[in-house]
Amino acid sequence: MWAYIVRRLALASLAVAGVLVIVFFLSHIIPGDPVAAILGPQAPNDVIEDLRRRYGLDRPVPEQFYRFVARLVRGDLGDSLATHRPVIRDLREFLPATIELATAAILIGVLAGLSVGVISAVARGRPLDHAVRFLSLIGLSMPVFWLGLILLFIFYFKLNLVPGPGQLDIFLSRPPTVTGLITVDALLARDFATLWNALGHLLLPAVVLGSHALVGIARITRASMLEVLGQDYVKVARAKGLSERTVVLKHALRNGLLPIITVIGIYYGGLLEGAVLTETVFAWPGLGRYATSAILSQDFAAIMGVTILIALVFSLANLLVDLAYGFLNPKIRYE
């Protein structure tokens, strides 16, 4: 299996390199002047020229690419035009908030999605199944932005059940940084007031961000379970007199998990890059907003930094999914 992992990692590196080349040249082909965009309409020409020179943007594109790769090899992603800081520092600052949000979202999506999918499959054709499928359809077609505002209105404004937007109450200070994840750092610091507050702030955006994953996982789970529940070995299990719970959860669900695991991996990667709307509504200081502003202002170094990160996350998620196959289905061999 180790040989398989090494080979997959090598292939993933190639894929990431390919993505980098494509994104680098595409982002440089798009017309527009990143320096002018960052400095605004009123910056004098000599200031713009000076900054362009300082960031090497006055050089030919192939030379810029060569410099980018040379820096990358040294682990340097360059400086962001917008924040005037090393991109790696920006990523270190903004990524943890998004990881925290996406992880909470996928947990909600998986737990609730699996439960709903299994219930729906077991209750196939009954009113409960119809209700779940109807609600899924609504959930899938509801824009994240709108859902976020509606939930804020109900749970924050009307019912006062959750705190407002932001990652933490403004009167609280962040716990000492160890991982960058506020909940984890608060736990490590045994600062339970901050932990509780952070969890409260995390809940609503995580539900919103996880809602599409929830619905998607529920639908796949239902379809997969329906297929498996009709298999002979399930009938045999029932004939053996096993309890329905054992039949569904041990025999059927485990075998039905393969396609579900695949979508979970894809959803997680998608949540990391697609959190921008949720981050906007909930004033979440994460990577989504950083990436959007980088794209809008053609902040090349930041775009490349985010690209590398997202490509790596997708590659790793795919690898983990493939490895999970083997765990779930011993017949699968890694060669």
Binding site: I30, P31, G32, D33, P34, A36, A37, L39, G40, P41, Q42, A43, P44, N45, V47, I48, D50, A82, T83, H84, E93, F94, A112, S115, V116, V118, I119, V122, L149, L152, Y156, F157, N160, L161, V162, P163, G164, P165, G166, L168, D169, I170, S173, R174, G200, L203, L204, V207, S243, R245, V248, L249, T280, V281, A283, P285, S293, L296, S297, Q298
Partner: protein, 520 residues
């Protein structure tokens, strides 16, 4: 199976009810704390030598002091760190006497060496706002400490007092603590720009306690401030980008002031007891620019036909009345503003001008506009207006970066753009819109007009009355011949809870003086 189902259902119920367990406390901010909801994503540096965005400069203004300050109406300079000053007969050299006993937040003294160091540092760093000083001061050696309590600044031209204050009241001219800067200097960063970007080296009314990017800025009142401790003990600028979320937070009492609501939301609050909406003119313009390098727009008649074809009142409606209609390049409330508004939609006049120019059959032109709301709607309206005089407009809705790329590259036919005064003097606007040699807007639109000589003359004029007359003349020429159809002076709207007092936004910065804010 039933037990399994029950467990799954229980899980869902727990998920649904979990919010109740972690609910927020009922809110209303404390009486000595002001919480402002706004987007702080534009804050990238709090170093006065680098800060150039609305929120960055807003914070810098409250952490740092400057030598002089402007009166509320921008008509004269008031003492700041300097208690008095004298000017040479040619108005080129100013000598400032410093206020004794002022200290930085660090406890170090604010003296003439600190002023010299700070202004020279801006010139050495040469970052975005440096031009505000370097346009008027030739060399760092022209800023000299005389003893410990006097500073002499020699400008490269005659500087009427308002213009001097425009430079030295600007946040870029803030005085930083040289000892802190030197202590935090590093190889490759001798001016400690990285450190000053995120830390406080000032003597202003507030001390920077924390800045978490894209989350919050926290300021704490400086107890030993030379003007006395400000009334609000703590100020928070909370990052809230989404207007609806900002409105909810204001209504809930989690924030006291909302800075970026939508026009309809402001209207809603205007009629709600417990809330106040302030509306202030700003020193910004919105205008349609026509590139004279594009052959049809080389004709003054065609440019004026465009100005007569535009329906200005309709544009005001698109803005939901959050603008004043104005047509001259010096906005209302600024010194020397010319209130002329000759252009109203008049298709007969516009068609006659097109005929005069030999363009009766019309022509095609592109109009680049950014995605910022409501600019695409305004572009669509202008397209419709110009179609009536046979100008077929291709509207290009682009990222702001792309619009600017076209504009700076002078490849546009028309763009919808904005200009905000960098300093409250008509020179800033006149230079941009009328002086081709300044390589700003007149240059971008390839409009090289003799009026540029008046711009150069006006900035040197010491007599206030003559100066005003010159700027009015410049505005008239630009209005009648220039390649700009100015259609809006945007208003700044701020909503707050009614117990918040003393919030009076400045037309220059579109922000307000936090030291005058208080709560009942």
């Amino acid at each position: 199976m039933r037990r399994g189902l029950a467990k799954a259902l229980l899980l869902l119920v727990i998920l649904a009810l979990l919010p109740a367990a972690v609910g927020g406390a009922p809110s209303r901010t404390p009486s000595n704390v002001l919480v402002i909801g706004t987007s702080i994503q534009d804050i990238v540096s709090l170093d006065p030598a680098q800060a150039f965005e609305f929120r960055s400069t807003w914070v810098v203004e409250h952490i740092y002091d400057t030598l002089v300050e402007f009166s509320r109406d921008f008509s004269r300079a008031l003492p700041g760190l300097a208690t008095s000053w004298t000017a040479s007969a040619d108005l080129k050299t100013y000598t400032f006497r410093l206020r004794p006993g002022v200290r930085f937040h660090s406890g170090n003294s604010v003296d003439a060496q600190a002023v010299e160091f700070s202004l020279r540092r801006v010139m050495r760093l040469k970052l975005s706002p440096a031009f505000i000083i370097t346009d008027f001061v030739k060399s760092p050696d022209d800023i000299v400490a005389v003893g410990t309590d006097q500073v002499r600044v020699t400008f490269n031209q005659a500087m009427p007092e308002i213009l001097m204050a425009s430079v030295l009241d600007n946040p870029v001219s803030s005085v930083v603590d040289p000892a802190l800067v030197r202590r935090n200097a590093a190889a490759g960063d001798p001016e400690a720009n990285k450190w000053v970007t995120e830390n406080d080296a000032g003597s202003g009314p507030y001390v920077l306690r924390r800045w978490t990017r894209n989350a919050v800025v926290e300021l704490v009142a400086f107890d030993s401030y030379w003007r006395g401790r400000p009334s609000m003990g703590r100020i928070f600028m909370q990052d809230l980008i989404e207007p609806a979320a900002q409105l909810l937070a204001l209504q809930r009492g989690d924030i006291d002031v909302a800075m970026s609501l939508l026009p309809g939301q402001y209207r809603q609050l205007q009629n709600t007891p417990g809330f106040v909406v302030k509306q202030t003119p700003t020193f910004t313009l919105r205008y349609l620019a026509m590139n004279v390098g594009y052959e049809p727009f080389s004709s003054r008649q065609v440019r004026n036909a465009v100005k007569y074809a535009i329906d200005y009142d309709a544009i005001k409606r698109i803005y939901e009345d959050t603008i004043d209609v104005g047509q001259t390049i010096v906005p209302a409330r600024m010194f020397a503003h010319l209130a002329d508004r000759p252009y109203q939609r008049n298709l007969e006049r516009a068609r006659a001008l097109m005929r005069e120019a030999g363009r009766e059959a019309g022509f095609r032109a592109t109009l680049a506009v950014s995605t910022e709301v409501p600019l695409p709607d305004i572009a669509a309206k202008i397209k419709e207006d110009l179609a009536a005089i046979n100008i077929q407009v291709d509207v290009q809705v682009l990222r702001a970066a792309d619009v600017l790329g076209q504009y700076r590259g002078r490849t546009h036919h028309m763009v919808i753009a904005r200009w905000g005064a960098d300093y409250p003097d008509p020179d800033n606007l006149a230079k941009a819109f009328a002086d081709f040699d300044s390589r700003v807007l007149a240059w971008r639109n390839q409009w090289d007009h003799p009026v540029k000589q008046i711009v150069k003359q006006a900035v040197q004029e010491a007599d206030r009355v003559k100066r005003e007359a010159l700027y009015k003349e410049i505005q008239k020429v630009v209005l009648e011949e220039g390649p700009y159809a100015v259609f809006a002076y945007p208003l700044r709207l701020i909503a707050m809870r009614s117990n918040v007092k003393g919030v009076d936004p400045s037309p220059l910065a579109e922000t307000f003086d936090l030291t005058s804010a208080s709560k009942e």
